[in-house]
Amino acid sequence: MAGSPRILLLDDDAAFLELYKEMLGKHLTSMPEVKTTTSAPRALSMLEAEPYNLLIVDLNMPKMDGLQILTIARRKYPHLRLVVLTGVRDEQFRTRAYAMGVDQFWIKPESDQEIGLFMESIESLLSREAQGGFRGVQSKSLVDIIQLECLSQNSCVLKISNGLIDGKIWIQTGEVIDAEAADLMAEPAFQRILGWKTGSFEILPPDPERPRTITTSYQGLLLNTAQAFDEAASQLPASAEAEQGKATFALAEIAQWPGVECVLSLRGKNAKDYYGLEDAAPVAEWLRDTLNNFQILADRLQVGQLQQVIGAGPRRKVALAAFGDAKLCIGFGPAVTAEQLKETFKNILTKWVS
């Protein structure tokens, strides 16, 4: 999208639209092109017809509410920045909007100071876009970002999330000084984070108080990590059969966790790996249907992503989760407590996702 950034502003109040169109179009340094509409269906057709950088949407509107628009926009246009600008002061709607992946949630500004902050935040969103900013490692690898931060002698904290686990890397004047991910700290945590293939991250302000636990230079760290990945890749089996064997081995490893009786994982549409199950087909069908149906329900209720399903029965307890195309079902013995199940499942997910 070359040229000035494009903003689509959706609100059922025409006077409000007029005012904000002028403010955003004339007072932002990036001089965005601002289009407005009072109708949600019209907004969707405008998004379809032309590319936009940012959609600003009200929540309370006739016919189609803002949450419905956000659900559709996030699914159809994953790179579109989304901002909610509403008069609805309700913590629940804020939570649900963030759960749907909005970038910012604003209550309609009521003072000059609030308007100033709003304008600054919009400018900041647009400038990140203009600089080729990123939402995740799909467009730039994590290695690129770390190199960039270190070469520019920056200080910051990189907060990285792969959807299920969060990790942090502390950078102080161009040097990586610490890292943490789930139960790991320092260099092992750094290597774990770099192993994540997809995710999202944000750059937080520096934390100068953080004690240094990593003394290797960032080049050394990246080199060590690359070597570790190369070694792991050279040990990977090449054939599909060997790949299947490796997956089964990984599941067998998961089955060693305390309380775990069986494991089933689904990759893509048909591939499944399992351990400790006699007849995996009906369980696979149940896993697929349950996660798919409840995600459809989540979209209908506008409650964000389905994170996990925990079930308890007389013979077994189960935990289900999806990550991208992959789905995982872990069966636990009936004696495992809810707390143990929660903790073990969290650790297994960390390993599985990595």
Binding site: L59, Q92, R96, W286, F294, Q307, V309, G311, A312
Partner: protein, 102 residues
Amino acid sequence: MGLLSLFSRTTRKALVHLPAGSFTVDREGKIMTSTLPQSFPEDYIRDIGRQVLECFRGAEKAHMPMAEIILHFSALKVLARELRGGAIVFLMPQTLNQPLKR
């Protein structure tokens, strides 16, 4: 019950607030009792009930019968207990400012 709404002239579709409460459904998915407010659409309650029953039945078919399931969505927690083929379902909206559990 709902008489005043007949005279209401509003055309604005209200945002649906997720309520906290519970409802029960029979084995056919019919809503038997509910503590949820009238403002929460019955379609939604029926949908939740139907999916929950389907999940229980699927688990049974997969030889993993379940007595209880807990669904963790980003902004909602749903707890469902099997009740002789039907279910009792609890809805617990989650917000970003939940108090931290000790």
